[in-house]
């Protein structure tokens, strides 16, 4: 079974290992999640676990959400995502609650979230362009992209040229983050390094895809 769970970003800090090395960690509040549905090859065409995290008030949920949760006698959930499985998920039934303990044997995870929105941004911020020079005759063009391609031939801008525009607030996957600690009593998962989104943002955490 491919292990995965839903959670929330708490924030970043640093902890010490026993030899004194400092580890930059992100604290994730991970689960408990309810299995809302088990998707199967026969019925849905693929295998997956549909998980739900963080209860929602019944009055704020739609009838469809309420009905869906009621099938497994759970409360409607605020954050619902699927964890894709290669093979039928064994030992998991609808309505079951998964806790952070599923990551006990896992060394690395992928974290999927929505990055912080940065609004309409220039190419320096959005694509890491270097901009133009600070002096030597450059006039008020210091953060400009420069040329966007040749002139008469092809007489149009080539596809895929990086331009300014809306930046952030997109689905981002950070792969291969090391699991530093699994704290079952507080439902916490500590991973090394940064994860997308603001503190308090919802995340999908799954066993890493990399071999």
């Amino acid at each position: 079974m491919r292990v995965g769970l839903l959670g929330r970003k708490v924030g970043m800090t640093q902890i010490y290992e026993t030899d004194g090395t400092v580890v930059p960690v992100t604290v994730l509040e991970c689960g408990p999640c309810t299995v809302l549905q088990v998707r199967t090859e026969e019925r849905d065409g693929y295998h997956a676990l549909q998980l739900g995290f963080d209860d929602k008030k019944r009055k704020n949920a739609t009838q469809a959400e309420r009905g869906h949760a009621k099938k497994v006698s759970a409360e409607p959930k605020r954050y619902v995502r699927e964890i894709r499985q290669d093979t039928p998920a064994e030992g998991v039934t609808e309505g079951q609650t998964l806790t952070v303990e599923v990551f006990n044997e896992i060394k690395t995870v992928d974290v999927i979230g929505t990055s912080k929105g940065r609004g309409y941004s220039g190419v320096v911020k959005r694509h890491g362009f270097k901009g133009l020079r600070a002096s030597h005759g450059v006039k008020r063009m210091h953060r400009h992209p420069g040329s966007s391609g040749p002139s008469a031939d092809p007489a149009h801008t080539r596809k895929g040229i990086q331009k300014p525009g809306r930046f952030g607030f997109a689905r981002v996957t950070v792969k291969n983050l090391k699991v530093v600690r699994v704290d079952a009593t507080n439902n916490l998962l500590l991973v090394r390094g940064a994860v997308p989104g603001p503190n308090g943002g919802y995340l999908t955490i799954r066993q890493t895809n990399k071999v």
């Binding site: 800090t13 902890i15 010490y16 004194g20 400092v22 507080n186």
Partner: protein
């Protein structure tokens, strides 16, 4: 305000108790050093010239003179590599950062000693002031209540 879950994680990485020391104190820092398989403790003696950060990120800078050359080392307070911090002598200082010691040499580096029971440190003074204020407020309240009782 910080998140209580984050606080919990930070607590787990902090030492239960750290010796109390202030900027201006002369301290012995016991550092664990790994030599191959064996672990040994090295002592770095000097004056604390700066403290920075909070919780797991708390650091302090110790300055000493080695063979006429100033040497400064910055230590994380909560690192497991720091075995102990022993205060040898407390210095009387009026700055939070004693960077001015870098420009001085010889006799000018000396700091006046601060004795326990003497002039308190900034933190201690603040605590004492708060306590004094609390007692004063309590007394005032009691007095007002007494007066109110009398009029009745």
């Amino acid at each position: 305000m910080q998140n209580h879950l984050l606080e919990l994680v930070e607590q787990s990485s902090m030492k239960a108790s750290i010796p109390k020391f202030e900027v201006g104190d002369t301290v012995d820092v016991h550092v664990r050093i790994l030599e191959g398989e064996k672990e040994r403790i090295q002592v770095f003696n000097g004056v604390v010239i700066a403290k920075s950060g909070t919780k797991t990120r708390e650091m302090f800078v110790v300055r000493r003179i080695v063979q006429g050359e100033g040497v400064e080392r910055k230590f994380p307070v909560h690192s497991p590599r720091i075995a102990d911090i022993v205060v040898k002598r407390s210095g009387k200082v009026r700055r939070a950062k004693l960077y001015y010691l870098r420009e001085r040499s010889g006799k000018a580096v000396r700091l006046k000693e601060r004795f326990a029971g003497g002039k308190a440190t900034a933190a201690e003074a603040k605590a004492a002031k708060a306590e004094k204020r609390a007692t004063r407020v309590a007394a005032k309240k009691a007095k007002a209540e007494a007066a109110a009782a009398k009029t009745e």
